[in-house]
Symmetry: C2
Subunit: 496 residues, 2 copies
C-alpha cells in the first residue's frame, strides 16, 4: 500500500551549515577490534551489511539520512556500559537508537556517529500483578510490552500508532504522549525507575524503586524526554494499569472546530472517569487515509470537515454503554454532531481506531512529509493548521502532481491540547521548508504554545527552543548536558 521507498538526501548535504565536530574521533580498525572483543557477531553490523546499515541511518519520515558505518546491538547493560566507556575515552560519537520511529530526526546519525541500538535488549524483567509494576529492558518493542501486560490482565499506560516498532526505552527517551495520555497521564508520573548508562560508562539505576519514593532529587526525570543526549536508558520500570473490562468507541462527523471543543467539554463532564481518548482529524487527514486504506469501508456515510474518535474504558460494560449511548443520543438530538457511529463489538472498535491510527502512515505514503507537533490552547488549536494550509495554497504548492504538496493535514489529541500537522509531500523542497519555517514557530510563539508537545526536539528543532523556553532555562539545560556528557559524544548536533 505504501509508495516506493525513496532514499532521503544525506542530512549533511541537505544542511551544509551543520559541520562534523572535529573533536570526534573517526572510527578505525582498532576500535572495531575492541568492539569485536566484547560483542558477538550478531551484536555488530558494519559495511559488510550495507542494506541493514542503511535502515539504521535513515529516519521513518525519509527526511534525514546519516552516514554511520557501525551499528552496535549489545544484549546487556554491562556491554552498553563497556561501549560507552570506550567511546567516551576515545571521543567516538554515539546515537542511541530504539525503534527508529522518531519524527524529529533524533534517532539517526548526522555524520559518522556510531549507532547504539537497543534492539537486542528485549526481555521483560519482572511483573508484580499486585502493584502493577512492570520492569523491562529498554529495547522491548511496545507491541510486545502491550501483549505481555494484556496476558497478565493489565495494560501499558501509553499506546501509539508506532507500537509495532517503537521501544519502551525510546518512548521514555522521547517522553511520548500517545493516544491515552488523557486517561493515564504523563510518563513523568508513570515511570517508577530507570536504569541508565551514563556517557562515561557508569550505571545509575533506581529501577527497583517502588510506587512512591521521596528520597532526594528525582534524577530519573531528567532522562525522560532527554532523547539520548545524557545517557542510554537500558531498563525501565513503569506502573501498568488494570486492564479495562469494557472498551467502547464512537466516531463522529462534525462541521467546525468550535463544535469539536464543545463536544470535548461535554465528554469530559459526562463520560468523566471512563473517557480514555478524545482524538480529532480534519478532512484532509481522512482523505489521505481513505486513499491509503483503499479496501476498507469508511465508517460514516458522509464526509465532514472534522472527525472525532472518543474511546471509553471501564470495569462494567453495561454501565459504560449506558453512559455512551446517552451521550451519543444527546449530541445527536441537540444537533451538536452531524453523524455518529458507535462500535458494535471489538472488531468494530478496532476498525474505528484504524482510521485514527493510520493517519500518519497515510500522510507519509506519497514520498514523505513535513511534520509539526504542537501544544496550543484549545481555542487556538486548529488555527495553526488553517494558517499553514492557506499559506501553502497561496503559493500554489498544493494539488496534483507535479505540485510538490499533496495535502496539508491537521489532527491529534484534543484532550491534551496537542495538534499534529502533516504536510504530505511528493518531495522535500527548500521552497516549502522556507514557507513553513520559521512561520510555524513564530505562529506558535505568538500564541504562547509549545513547538514540541510530544515528539521532541531532535535535529529538526535544534536551535528553536527559544520559541518556547527562556534564556535562563536554555542555559540550565546546557549546563545539564555539559555536566552529564562533558565530551558531548551522545547524540551530537541535536536537542540543545
Amino acid at each position: 500500500m505504501t509508495a516506493a521507498h525513496p532514499v532521503a538526501q544525506l542530512t549533511a548535504e541537505a544542511y551544509p551549515k551543520v559541520k562534523r565536530n572535529p573533536n570526534f574521533k573517526v572510527l578505525d580498525s582498532e576500535d572495531l577490534a575492541y568492539f569485536r572483543s566484547i560483542l558477538s557477531n550478531d551484536e555488530i553490523l558494519n559495511s559488510q551489511a550495507p542494506e541493514e546499515l542503511a535502515s539504521f541511518n535513515q529516519d521513518w519520515m525519509k527526511k534525514y539520512r546519516g552516514q554511520s558505518n557501525l551499528i552496535l546491538l549489545p544484549n546487556s547493560t554491562d556491554k552498553v556500559s563497556k561501549i560507552m566507556k570506550y567511546c567516551n575515552d576515545k571521543k567516538l560519537a554515539v546515537v542511541p537508537q530504539g525503534g527508529n520511529t522518531d519524527l524529529v530526526g533524533a534517532s539517526v546519525p548526522v555524520f559518522d556517529e556510531i549507532v547504539l541500538s537497543l534492539r537486542n535488549m528485549n526481555k521483560v524483567r519482572d511483573f508484580d500483578p499486585v502493584s502493577g509494576t512492570f520492569k523491562c529492558d529498554a529495547g522491548v518493542v511496545m507491541r510486545d510490552a502491550h501483549q505481555f501486560l494484556h496476558d497478565h490482565d493489565h495494560i501499558f499506560p501509553l499506546d501509539l500508532p508506532s507500537r509495532n516498532n517503537c521501544q519502551v526505552g525510546g518512548v521514555v527517551s522521547t517522553n511520548a504522549g500517545g493516544l491515552n495520555f488523557l486517561r493515564y497521564g504523563s510518563l513523568h508520573g508513570n515511570v517508577l525507575g530507570l536504569e541508565v548508562v551514563l556517557p562515561n560508562g557508569e550505571i545509575i539505576s533506581n529501577i527497583n524503586a517502588l510506587r512512591k519514593d521521596n528520597t532526594g532529587y528525582d534524577l530519573k526525570q531528567l532522562f525522560i524526554g532527554a532523547e539520548g543526549t545524557i545517557g542510554v536508558v537500558t531498563g525501565v520500570s513503569i506502573v501498568a494499569a488494570a486492564k479495562p473490562k469494557a472498551l467502547n468507541a464512537v466516531f463522529f462527523g462534525i462541521e467546525n472546530f468550535d463544535t469539536v471543543q464543545k463536544l470535548f467539554v461535554k465528554a469530559k463532564s459526562e463520560l468523566s472517569e471512563i473517557l480514555s481518548a478524545f482524538e480529532f482529524m480534519d478532512r484532509g487527514s481522512i482523505e489521505c487515509t481513505i486513499e491509503y486504506l483503499k479496501d476498507l469501508p469508511f465508517p460514516l456515510e458522509n464526509q465532514h470537515n472534522f472527525y472525532v474518535l472518543i474511546e471509553t474504558s471501564g470495569s462494567n460494560k453495561r454501565h459504560d454503554d449506558e453512559k455512551l449511548t446517552a451521550f451519543l443520543k444527546d449530541t445527536t438530538d441537540s444537533k451538536l454532531i452531524s453523524e455518529g457511529m458507535m462500535a458494535k463489538d471489538k472488531a468494530d472498535f478496532d476498525r474505528l481506531w484504524t482510521w485514527r491510527k493510520s493517519v500518519p502512515t497515510a500522510c507519509n505514503s506519497y514520498g514523505g512529509m513535513y511534520k509539526y507537533d504542537m501544544s496550543l490552547q484549545l481555542k487556538d488549536l486548529y488555527s495553526v493548521s488553517a494558517a499553514v494550509t492557506e499559506r501553502l495554497n497561496a503559493a500554489g504548492l498544493i494539488g496534483d502532481a507535479p505540485k510538490p504538496v499533496v495535502k496539508s493535514c491537521g489532527y491529534g489529541h484534543v484532550g491534551d491540547g496537542n495538534i499534529h500537522l502533516n504536510i504530505a509531500v511528493r518531495e522535500f523542497t527548500k521552497q516549502i521548508e522556507d514557507l513553513l519555517e520559521p512561520f510555524v514557530y513564530e505562529y506558535i510563539a505568538s500564541k504562547k504554545g509549545s513547538i514540541s508537545a510530544e515528539h521532541g526536539i531532535g535535529f529538526h528543532k535544534k536551535g528553536k527552543l527559544h520559541y518556547t523556553r527562556s534564556d535562563i532555562e536554555i542555559r540550565f539545560m546546557k549546563d545539564i548536558k555539559n555536566h552529564y556528557d562533558p565530551n558531548g559524544i551522545l547524540n551530537p548536533y541535536k536537542y540543545i
Copy 2:
C-alpha cells in the same frame, strides 16, 4: 481536644553534633535595614513578636525547634527574588516555609536561618475550565485551592489531612502523595509548570506551560520534592481534574493484614476506574483516634485488628452505588471482611473520612510522636509496624504513664504501598530514638523499600539516603545542590 503544647527542645541542643556553618553571616542591623527597605511592616516579623517567631521556629510534631530571629513574608515574586539575591550575596542562610506541616523537620530552621514564609503569596492566578489548568501563588493554602476548584466544578488532584494549613508550594516542594494518589497519580505527572526563584535571585519559570511540552530537559521536575534546597517555588501550575458527580465510601473491619491485601486486589479489579482511595489503619491508630474524637460515635459495632476505608468517585451515582453495593455484599458473603459500613449520604461520607484523617493529629496529641513514612512491597507493608511495636514492647516502653510511649501505630495508603508509623509519645527520649534508629532504616533497606515514601528527607533523614539510594545517585544529587546553590544558603543542614 489537643493536649497542652509543649515546647520542643532546641534542635541545636538535641543534636549537638550538628554545628552551625561558620561561613554563614550572622544577621545584623544593616541586613534588617535592607529588608525594611524592600518590604512593608506586615512582611517582616522579628524579635518584637516573640510568640509568632516561636510558631515559625517549631515544627508540627513539636520535635524540632530553631532559633531564627527573622521571618520574611514577601507578597510578590519580585520581592522573593530581591531577598534571595541579597541573602546569597551576604551568605545569609534561608529556610523557605509553607504551611509548616512537614513531618521531617524540613520546614523550620536549625540555628539562626532566616525563615522565608510564602504565606503572603496567596492568590489564585488563573483557571481555565476547558483544559483544567490551575495557576496560583505558592502560598495558597491547600484548603483554599480545593474550595476555589470546587466552586469551578473541578478538584485539586491531591488531598491530605493537613489541607487546612499546608500550601500548594509546600506540597509541591515535598512531592506529597496524600489520599487520592491512587487515582490522580504523582505531582511529577500533574504539575504543569513552576515559577522558581533561584538562590541567586534569578527567576526561572515555565508556569505558562501547556498540558504537554517536550522542549528540552524537564527542569521543573527537580524542584518537585526538593524541599526548598535549590530554589523557592513562588508559583505553581497544575492540572485539575473534573469534579466527580458521585462520591461514596465504605469502612471495613478486618482481622488480618493478609485480608487487607486480598481486599485491595479485589477492589482494584472490581471498582477499577471509580476507586479513588484505599486506606488502612491498625487497631492502635483507631484506639488513639477514638480517644481523640471522644464525642464522635465510631461507625462500626466492634473493634478489629485492621480497618480499611475505600472511596469511590465517578460521574454517575447510580452506577457507582451499584458497583459498591455489589462489592460490599460480595465481601460480606465471602466472609472476607468482618464488618462493613457504607456511607448513606455526604455527611456520612465526611464522617467516615474523619476517622482516617484524624489519625496523625490523634497520635500527636499526647505530647509528640516519632514518625516514619515508608514504601514497601504490599506483602511486607505491615511487617515493619509489627516489628517496631514488638521492639518497643520488649523494652517495656509502651503503656500508661510514666511509660514514655502511648502507642505504636501503623496506617497509610495501601494503594500506593505506603505505610506511616506513628510512635505516639509523652516525651522524646534518647532511649526510644536509639531503639528506632537505625533499626527502622535497616529493616526497610533489607526489604528493598524506601525510607521516605512521601514525607521527604528534611533534617530527620539527612545522611540516611544510602539506605535507599546508591553512591552514584547521591553524588549526582550533591552535584545538583552545588550547581543550583553554590553557597549552600538554602535550607542548610538538611536533605542531601
